[in-house]
Structures are given as C-alpha cells and as structure tokens.
Symmetry: D3
Subunit: 306 residues, 6 copies
C-alpha cells in the first residue's frame, strides 16, 4: 500500500502512477480542538507499506511519524519510508558551547525511533543524519545526479561551467561535472566571519560561458543571488541556477525575479513548489520509483529465482 | 534548570516561583522557512533538567520532544518531564478493524522514545498511555483530587451531589465523593448507538441539591451541557461543572454561556485557558511543585541522610 | 509447527484439526525437585512456530514463556503466540498510591520481552495490556463477536435485550446489539463505594423480554448473579448469561446452579471448562484458525502473487 | 526497602537483622481463581529496593519477576536482587540436536529482562547463566568459600581430604583445599556412558582420613552417596558431605539416613531446608549482608568522601 | 554473496566451491597510516551475505566486525556469519576477585552487537559464549563429530581407546566413543593446584591399544604431550592426537616432533594450519556447507512448498 | 580509577598527574598464541572508571573496547572514555554506490555499543561520528582551540594569516582567526577531479606575512606541503603548520624536512609522536583534565550543594 502525508500527496501520486500501483488516500478528520484523526483506507496487515512524506514543518513531520507508527500498530509486513525533503537538515551539528539543539540529528532520530524498516532520503544536505540511529535500520541516500544531468543537457548550452557557492557542496559538483564532462569552480572568499558569508569573487573560468550555480537547496536565495552576480562580474555570458530542494522562503521568489538569473531548475521534493516563467520543476518520481522497485521486489524475486 | 515549551510557559513560571528556582527561557528563533531554532540559555551538562509542556498541538508536542532530545544531547544529568495536558489522550485505543491510528498510544510512545528519565502526567483520560513503553521509564500519574476537593469546599454549598456524565470517569468520582463525604451518581442511558451518546436521565438523588457534573476534560462541552439539563430536569437546585482540562474548543464557550450552568471549575493545564464570569481556573502548580520536589530532592537527600 | 502449553492442549488440538496441520506434543519430563524439562519433538529451525497457551496460572504462564524462548533458542523462523485467556488481565492498572503491582501490565510485558514475533489475544478485559511493550511486536486483539452472535441467534429467542453489569464492558455490548439489531441496557448504580459494587436496578426495557447478561469473563459470578436478579425484578421473562472467559472460581458453579439463570454461554478459552446442563461451551478454535491462516499464509502468498 | 518472595522470607529476615534494617513484608492476597495480589507495604519511590528470592519453583521465580517489575513500576531508585538458589541452574546448556530448552539460560534471562539494576547469585552451578543478557546489567557471583572453610574448621577433624564427585566442580574444590591447606581428589570413572555416571573408584589418598565429599548442590543425592561408599571402600575413616544448595528432593533424606555419612553441611539457600541429626545448616546471610552493604553504600560513600 | 576475512579466505573458498557459489573477494587497500579500506566487490543490497572468518587475532576479529557492519550499512537482506575458530574462547570466565576481563564473553558479545542475523561456531571450548547476547540472535553450535569419526575410521586401527586430558572435554569424548563404539578414559590427577595441572596417570584401559588423545584445541601442546607420555607409560601401543583447532603456538610444532606421537589429526579452522609428516589436516568445509545450505535455503523452500 | 590502553599511556599519565590522581596500570600478559590478558590492578566495583585510549590501530581500538567491557563486567559505577585520536575518522561517509565500509561510523559505533557512559573526543575530523548511536550515550567533542591559540601567540609572529588547505576545515579556521583577530584564507582550486586534489593558488592576502597552514590532522602531509609551496609562491614570508593530530605516516617526516616549512605545531593525541627540530608537540592533557574534572565532579558537587 502506498500512502503519503498530506503535503507530499501530489508527488506520491506521480510515484504510484509510474509504479502502476494504486495511491491510497488516508482517511483524515480534524476535530474542533485541532487533533487530527488518521485511518488507513483498507487492510494493511501483512502488506508492505510505502509512506512518502516531506518533513518540512511540524505537522508534516508529525504525520510521517504517525503513519509509521500506525503501520506498525496494524501489522504492516514492512514499512518503507521515502522522505523527499528532510526538514531541519541544515541543523546537522551544534556549534561548540552554544547548547543549540541539532534538530537535523534529533528529528531524524525520531523518524528512526518510530521503527520503519527502510528509509530513503534524497540529496541530503549532510549525510551525518543517516547515522542518527543505532545501525539497525536500512537507509538509502538517493542522489538525483542522473535526473539533473538530463535537465542540464536539455538546456542545450554550448559552453558552460558549474559553480558552487558553498564549499560543502563542491564534492557533488565535481561529480556532476565529471558526468557532464564540463569545468567547475567555486566562489572565492578572501575573508569571512564565523557567521556571515560574503561571496567576493568567482574565478575567470566562467568568462564567456554560461554559469550554472549549483546547490542542494535554495532557501532565501541570498548566497545564490550573490554568486550569480559575481559570475556576471567575472564575465559569464548568463547564469542558471540548479538546486534539488526549492524551499524559496521569505522574499526568495521576489528577489530571484529581480536578479538576472535566466532559469532556476529544481525538483518537486519541497511541497507546493510549482513551475513558472523562471522556475522549471522536474519530478523526482522516477528516482523514488526505482528505489522502491528494487527494494520491495528484490526479496520476492530472490526467492523465486533462488 | 526548569524550562517549558512556549505554550506552557505561564504555568511553568508559577511552578518555578513556588519552588523558588529560576525559570529559564529557551532561546528561540524562527527562520523564514518556518524552522524553529532552540538553544538552552545556559549550561545544562550534569544538571537536572525539568521540562514542563502540554502537548495539545503538533508544535507543542514536537517542542517537548525537541527539548528532551536537546537535554540528552547536551548531557543533562536527568531529564524530568511534566505534561500538564496530554494531547490525543482520548485516542487511547483503536476500534476493531477500523485501522485508525491510536495516537493516544503512539504519540505518548514518541515522548518515551525521546528517552526522558521521568515523566509525570496529570489526570489522564486513560492510564493505558502510561504503558506505551518497554517498562523502563519512570512515570507518575498525578491526580488533582486534593486541589479539586479544596475548590469544591470553597464553593460553600450546603448540599450537593457529584454527577458523572461518562461511566469511564465514575471510579474517580466515587473517589472524590468519598473524600468529600457526599453522594454521587451517573447519568443513565437507556439506549445508545455505538458512536453517539444521548444522556437520557439522571437519578432523582440530585433533587433539591446542587449538582456538580464532573469530568476529566471539557472539549466541545456537548455531553456535559446535556447532563446539566437532565440534572435540572431531575430537580437539581443548580448545576456546577468541574473538569481538569478545559479545552473548550469550537463553540464551547458560547454554548456554556447559553446553558444554565452556574460555574465551571477547571485547571490551567490546557494552555491559554483564562478565568472569566463563568470559568474559575485554579492552578496545578502546587501539584507539580510537590512531585518535582519529592522526585528531584530525594536522591540527594537519600545520600545525605543515609 | 503447532504446540501448546499443557493447559491449552485440548483447544490447540482443535485448532490444528481445523487448520489441517499436525499438533506437536512437547516432550515433557518432571524431575524429583519439581523442575520441568521441555523439548520440541522435531526440528523447528527455520519453521514457523505457533504456540497456543492460556496463562491462567504461574505454571501455564511460565510454560508459554519457556516455549517462546525455546523457539528463539532453536532458531524458529517466526514465533506466533495465541493466548486464549490472559491471566491477571483485570489487574491492568494500579490504584493511586496503593503501590500494588499491576500484573495485567507486567506479566503481559514478560510475554513481549520473551520476543515472540506475533501475539494474538482474545476478548481482552482491557486493551491497555496490548501496549505493554515498546511498539515493535505485532499484536492482534481478536473479538469473538461473530461467534457470539451466532450462539445467540441459535438460542432462537423471539424478543431479547443485552444487559451489561459493568460499564466498562458497555461499548462492546453496544457493538453486539448493533450486530444483532436488538436493544441493550446497563445496570444502574445509584450509590456505590470505591471498592464494592451493588447493582441496584435494571431499566424497565427488559420487561417481558429475555435478558442476556453479557460480560467478558465470569469469575466468582457475584455481580452477574445480582444483575440477573435485578433483571427478573424488573420483569424480565428469563435470564441468560453470556461471557467469553468462564473462570468459574470458588463457589461459582454452585451459586449459578442456585440462581434462576437459564443458561450460561461461554467459550473454551479458560482451560478445563466443560459443558453441562447449565453451561454451554463453544470453541474459539475457528477464530484462532482464521488469524493463523491469514497471518502465516499471507507472507508466502504475497510473494507468490506479487 | 528490603523485601523477599514468600519462600525466602526466613533468610531475608536474617539478612535484614544483620544489616540492622527493617524487613518489609509484601502485602499479599490470593483470589479465588488463584491469582495473587502483591503490593509494597510503604512508599518505595526513589528508594533502593532489595529483593531476596530463591527461584526454585514457578511460583517463586514468578514472584521475583513480579517484585522486580513492581519496583520498576513504582519508581524505586534502584532494584537489587539476591538469588540465593537459582532454579534450573543445571540446565545451562542443551545437548546437540535435542531441541531441549536450556532453562538455566532462558529463565535467568527472564530475570535480567525484568530490568533489575543488580543481581547477585550464590555458588552457581555454571557461570554461563551470568552472561544471559546483553552485558548491561550488574551481576555478582558470590562464593560461600569463606563460610564453608569456617564450617569445616569447626568440625575439628585432624586429617581430612576433599573429594569431588563431579569434575566440573573440581576447580572450586582445589580452591577450597588451598584455603584449608589440605589434599583433595576426585572420584575416578573408567567408563561411563553419555548419560549415566558410575563412580567406580576413589584414589587411595583418602585412606585413613576423613573424606569430605563436596558438591555445589544435593538433589536426589545419588552420586554423592555412591562417592561416599567408594571413599569408605578406599579406606576413608569416615565421610562428611558438604554442599551449598540442599535441594534434597525425592527420597534424598531417606537415602542419606541409610548411608554411612556422618554429617551433611549445607546452607539455607534452598527454601525450607532445616537442620536435624544429620544435616547441619548454616546461613548465607553474612555473605548477602556483605555484598549489599558494599554495593548499596558505596555510591553514597563515594560521593561523601570524594 | 559469500565473503571472508583475509585469514579465512582459503577455507571460505573451499566452502564456496562445495556450495557451487562464487567466492567474492573483498576490495582491500591499506593506507600509509595502517588503516584498512574495505569495499564489497558488487551489489549486496537485498542479498543474503555470508561471512566466514576466524577471529584468532585482533585484526581478523576486527575484520569480521567490519564486514558485518558493512553488510548492515549496505542493506544486505541477511548477514550470516560462520566463525571457524573463535579467539579468546578459553577465557570464558573470570576467576573470582581477579578483575580479569573474560574476553571469551566480551569479544563474542562484540560480534553479536554488530547485529548479524545468524552466527555459527565450530566445536566451541565453552558454550557459555553462545549466551553473550540478549537472546535475540540466531546461533548455531556446529560439532565436527561426524567428520572426526570418519577420520578415525580411516586410520584403520584395530583396537583403540579415546583419552581425554581435560575433564571439561570428557562429555564430548563419551559422545565420540559412543559413535565409534570404542572405550574411553580420562587422565587421572591425584593432586593439582589451582593453576597448574600435572597429569599423573592414565588408566590401564589403554594397555596394548592405540591411544587417541582428544581435545578441542592444541595451543602449546604441553598437556597433550604429557598425556601421551602417560599413555605410553600405561602400556599404550602408540599414541595419536585429535583436536579440532590446531593453534600450535610457540614451540608446539617442535615439541610435538620430539614426542612419540604418531600423528596429529586436526581441522583447518585455525588460519594457516598446513598438513605435514606429523599433522594431518582435514577441512570443515562440508560442515559449513551443510549449515549454510539448510539455513539459507530453508526460508525460500518453505515458501515454495507451503 | 584512571587507566589507559597501552598506546596512550604516556598521555594518560600526564592527565593523572595534572588531576592529582593515581594512574593505574592494567595487568597485561600475552600468551604464545598472541591472545592478550587484561586485569584491573585493583577493585573497580562502584568506582568511576576513566579510560584514555587512542584508537589508531586495530590493537589499540580493540583494547579500548576490552577495557570498557571489562569495566562493565566488574561493575564500575561509571565508565568514562576519552579518545584523543579516533582511528578511521576520515572514513565518515561512503561514496555513492561504492559499497565501501564507512569505518569512521562503524568503528565509533562499536565503541558506543560497548556501552560506556560518557565518551569525549578531541578535534574530530567530522562530527557525524558523534551520532553513530541511538542518542543515549553522553558524548563531548573537545576543541583544542584555546591551547592552539596559546601556541600561536607564543610564536610571537608580528603579522600572520591562517591558511586552510581543505574547505571542510575552514569553519574552524574562521573560529581560530576570530580568537586570534587575524586574517584567514583558503587555498583555491580551479579544477579538480573527483578523487585527486591539486592546490593551485593561494590568495595574495598571505603576501609578506607568515602563513600558518592549519588542518585537523597530518597524515602523509602531501596537501599541506603543496599548500605551503603555494603560500611561498604567493609571497608569504615563511610558513608554519598547525595540526591537532600528527599521524605523519609513510614518508611524511622526510618530506617535511625537505619542505621549507619552519615549524610544525601539533598535539600528543596520536600515540608515539615526539618533538624534534621541526615538530613542536604540546599536550592535550589540560583539555582532558578539564572535561574529566567537570564531568566527574559535578554529580558529587551537585548533591553536596543542593
């Protein structure tokens, strides 16, 4: 049975379609005191339950926990969770002596503690969250690299360079560049404070080329817009932006419209994101389909073909 | 260190005052994408952490989990949680074959799984939730009986009877009646469906007396208002209502104003509840103070006076 | 492999028969110091082990624990337990400040801690015991409703009403009444102490009808015999009694013979119960057969029909 | 608080006396259906609970589990268990391919799974049972060597040798012999089957001396009586028997009376054992007192004298 | 997928051959700082992983832990471990008050804590190590009895007796003797200290026969060589030695060459052991093959033939 | 009691000295087959055990596990581990689809699974390893920042800049720069492959200044030597190197001698490191002393001053 939390229902329906299975809508009611009622629409005992749910806010995160625990309660054969967008993933560590709660770790730990059998994540900001359990839960980190390469090739640019605004992301950019057989660089920062980042300069390798600024997620978009400006300063012909998770919070959309960025390419992992003039959204459904197919079918196949 | 989730801050401050300890306000920030940042305001390593938090909605429930896990992360010596009002406590079991998620169990289990050392609850709807863990966490069910008896005595009624609208609650009413040395009864129901309850009749024991309708919580107030009417039908002089948890959702306040109920007595366990002409709110702070004092001081005292 | 503890062997044999599988008798020896030796009669490694056992006394309870752990030790593929009658199920909570041990919880927890994969219970007195583990064990609460409805229909009464002596049981009675499309009521109690119950009155709805007093279990039978008398006082034509678990301890059988009850209908969940003039025992074997079939076959079928 | 299961109450009272603490008698009731009710006689929250209980039959074993879990339920600060005699300790391993349940392991595991904080055992038949948990519970194996040495010295024999009927026990005998500075030997067995043991011969070292046949426990006494005969055959002056656990099941007492054994020295670990003409029972209370004192006081002292 | 740690690769290849499956060689690199890199050579997700590895030194033990955890990390369907020789198996208990670390228990516990699904051991020195976990992991103790009996029969001796130098091993010798239908005895020890053993005498049953001294393992060989001498003193025609685990540490090989022992028969469980003039090594591969076949195939077959 | 594994004994002695406690040397023996025996030199039951041990190779890592488990076995009151250098810390994640074992996670998990109560690490390469448990163990990440700042100030350089060769380390460098109130930069890389790094260029900010190349550890030193060359190319006056962990494997020392680096400053976390002409080693003992003091004393103090 394939279900989703409310927020990820559109994406989950695409996955169900591509797998050729029925999407099951949870029975939901809300009481006058705000409490939410959930029931599975049909028998799940001894069935494999797939739950697709982004955890981008308290309600969505909590709904994922409820669905996992509900599946356990009603004796699902296995509980397989796909988290397209993991909330709090940038809070994966606490600064020394701040006593701040590293929710990237603690909230992911809540998911593991609900005792699913398998959890897949997409393009995580940090893999540290994968380890927030005792080593007994099957996890899978899905990379959207192949989907992204296809999207870039479809842009049909004749000369381009990948640009990373964030050094933490540069290993993945190197990997993408090698798949695309193109150059890549990272924005330079002569001087920056502990907390604030000022993008000062981008290497001249972008000169005369299309610059594709790549990141794992766009939140307010500040750093990316700065990096785009520096690319143009350094002689880039034009600037594209590529990011898996399009959070686009606060004034992000407005700021991007004002920038000289030609196009933003991103996925449908963050609930509610939509394509428009500037933003070109592709779906991660094929990626999810693939992992579910290989993960859930394998045990059956293994037995059949023993 | 004594902290609270945002919703239970007023109650927690009362507890801190009565214990003579400082209330520590968590450092809170909210980012543009809605994610909330929390940090403890000062060192908690090797200190006993007390967390007071009602879990009446997703955000409050989640904040309690975050605080427990944060206390663990920063090496608090012990984590002691008081949950004045437990959300979803009426969903403590699933009807046969409904496949509904019994969140009274599953959400309480989330709290236990965050691994606090001690959790106290107040006037639980069902004790089943206490057992939603593997038997290793210290729990304490606090009853407000003594506070309630005092409130009733203060009403200075010369002849009264306790009335239960809900048979599940009648054991506690018998206990209260025995403390108050007064009669008690329960509303009669000749015929009722699986789902809907119609209060048909109250015993004539209420005739000429003040009826005090008692329940653990008031949500929309429907059953209680019906019971009050039946008490008046049966000749009660006047009707008071007593309940620990004043949820008062939907049209509850408006409906109560229209009813002939003289006064509603309830506690401050549900966040945001306030006294007014009709509602008389007392605080459970003395109850919480007492348990914290005995629980936290005991280990120290035990060693000193060995 | 299907085995049983000694006490539930007759019931287990019926289940084996109806499933068309062999019943395996454990090898048992007892040493002079009273210690009991158990061995499985044939290889169980990599087989699904089914254990049927009531836990109505220390020895039976302990034998169930031994069998589960023995199955684990000898590498059974899965361990599936059916507990027709759960001992101590009425001690599912401790009264405040009594420091009494709630063995309904703690003994059930022992069963879960022996680490079976699946545990089914029949007509539990309280579902609280289901939650006495950390949320990782598959449990199933079987209701005998369908079997009971059939038994009542077979009585061929033309006009009857279901009567509950115990408010805790009234939800299930409402459910039965709705399946039978008949009225139901509950005995009234104007005044009762914390500890002792006096059934004072039954609604006139029973007048001229057959009253079927329903409860989950009969122990000494006191309350049920009182309720039966009140039914007759209120004009009931005759009284039947219906209960899943026929403990019939102490003087119960003698007291029932003296009462004006026409017939007691109950199941064979409690070890040793036998039909006689008054008591009509039906078997829960069909219920157990059904759950075992669906639970154990499903994984195989699921793979075959993938 | 120091409590005991019913069987070990006399021993526990001796321990309480020697520690100078009060012995608390559990509140016990038994219902007509055989179920037993237990309550702690006074507040145990935040107190160290000591439970003394032999587990020599199902009821005693089960009562120890109930007391541990009850202590957990009512928030004892720590739960410290002393098991003077461990039931099933000779079933500490299963013979290959027998599918017999090694209850020495599985029942001890039940004790650990009830989650006490500390468990002490006396003169275990096999230390394998100590490891029947995941390595997280404090265990202590108490040896009665010092008490035994004192008892032997008090016999005031001028020339004696220790004789082991069982090679498994010979390491301990070597240890005792070294404390007593006396010779020791073991009975010889030219030929024995897998299952049955025939003691054929004892070394001539016993000639003209008092032979003290030593074992960890006496059950039916068969092997010990045989060994005693062989000692006399080999010229021993007279024969004494020494064993920690006096089970004396079946015809043991009668057989011993018929043998030429002068005296049997054993402890009060097995419930109900009493001194008489032949049997001289000493108490292990000093041993238990010592471990409780050092274990329970140490944490307090450690803090005081830091 | 069948892999091995480096040390047990030759044995694992034999097992793979006899099972008709491919042996997969781990990808191994070693960095300049001594750290070792391991990667599985092909996809293991959803496959059954078999790991064969003796744990005779820190590096081999650690490699087994790494392989188990690696299999967990990459989502193997099941992780099945065969440990031909278990390091530290003779340190299965700590002497009283020595504070020595019983690594036989603690290191085996490390293996269980790495969370494999199944662990098989061969001819363990003590079964106590099997219980060094919480009772949830499938373990199997494989006895080489059948292989050994064949080897002895192949010696074609016309009259022989099995001799045990170590009483702890005598139960297994009785079992072997019963399979071979031959007599057996154990070396006698009139007097021995707590720590040192002097083999004084062997029964005259060996006179004129071939003596086969049997033990579970040969380390320095001291006791075995002594026992062989005593056999010759007692008139044995000649002496053979039989042991499962040929550690042969220190001067063992040299001492054996100097002794009058005709042949040493042992298995290939200990890494690096090789046949020569004196030593005749047989392989345990058939034993391992058998358990893997029955353990891994059973679940598939069970489903097919349901 | 304060002990250490063999490798970290010199550091542990310094810590013991500065704490004013005795250093306890484990009793160690090695048998001819290579197995190592360990015993605690005196009673540890109910004492706080401190274990200091780098885990830079299999033997040292294993010894730390043995000591933790030994402390558990002998009932230490608490087990507190300090790991000055964590082996495999750079393997904290697996590259996609490589099936490489991320030993940084799995080996650290072994440490947590041995169930210490507290584990402190120094200057971790990645904090991801901190989360390799279920959230129940107290961990502490100690930063050597304050010690390092002091060392740099002692160099008495009048104008210097911190240079990071590795972007992963740049956050810490920013933190150090802010404590020292000096500029900092990172080496630039126009183009690099997925696997190999070529340091192409360092910003001109180093011109005329002393460049201090900072990293968390030096293994072969390749990248650091390259970065140093680029600094000189960019006009740096001279180059210093600063790193916490001086692994210096392979040809590192020789290569550094050949380079133009003036001085290497590092700590004594990696076993065996020594000061010489080029290398200036400071001790982390003050850092360890501080954390042990605050962690172990706090509970006692808390009780005293309650």
């Amino acid at each position: 049975m394939l279900v989703a939390n409310e927020a990820s229902t559109p994406l989950a329906k695409k996955v169900a379609d591509s797998l050729g299975v029925e999407f099951s809508t949870m029975i939901r009611k809300q009481f006058s005191d705000g409490e939410r009622y959930h029931a599975f629409p049909s028998e799940i005992a001894e069935k494999d339950l797939v739950i697709i749910g982004a955890t981008h806010n308290d309600t969505s995160h909590q709904e994922v926990l409820d669905l996992i625990q509900g599946g356990r309660y009603w004796n699902a054969a296995s509980i397989n969770v796909v988290i397209p967008y993991l909330g709090y993933s940038t809070m994966e560590r606490a600064k020394p002596d701040t006593r701040e709660i590293p929710k990237g770790i603690t909230r992911t730990r809540q998911i593991f503690r609900a005792r699913p059998h398998f959890v897949a994540f997409i393009d995580l900001h940090s893999e540290a969250v994968l380890h927030a359990h005792a080593g007994e839960i099957r996890t899978k980190h899905l990379w959207s690299d192949r989907l992204v390469v296809k999207k870039i090739r479809n842009l049909d640019l004749d000369d381009f360079v990948l640009v990373s605004p964030d050094y933490g992301f540069s290993k993945r950019i190197a990997r993408l560049a090698s798949l695309l057989d193109c150059p890549h660089t990272a924005a330079d920062k002569d001087r920056y404070d502990t907390d604030k980042t000022i993008v000062s300069q981008v290497s001249s390798v972008v000169k005369g080329k299309s610059a594709i600024v790549c990141d794992d997620m766009i939140r307010t978009g500040g750093t990316i817009i700065q990096t785009a400006s520096r690319c143009l300063d350094a002689g880039a012909r034009d600037v594209y932006v590529l990011a898996t998770h399009l959070v686009l919070s606060g004034e992000a959309r407005k700021q991007f419209k004002k920038s000289k960025i030609v196009k933003i390419i991103g996925s449908d992992t963050y609930p509610g994101v939509k394509s428009d003039d500037l933003i070109d959204v592709y779906s991660v459904a094929p990626l999810i389909k693939k992992v579910l197919k290989s993960h859930l079918l394998s045990s059956a196949d293994r037995l059949r073909n023993h």
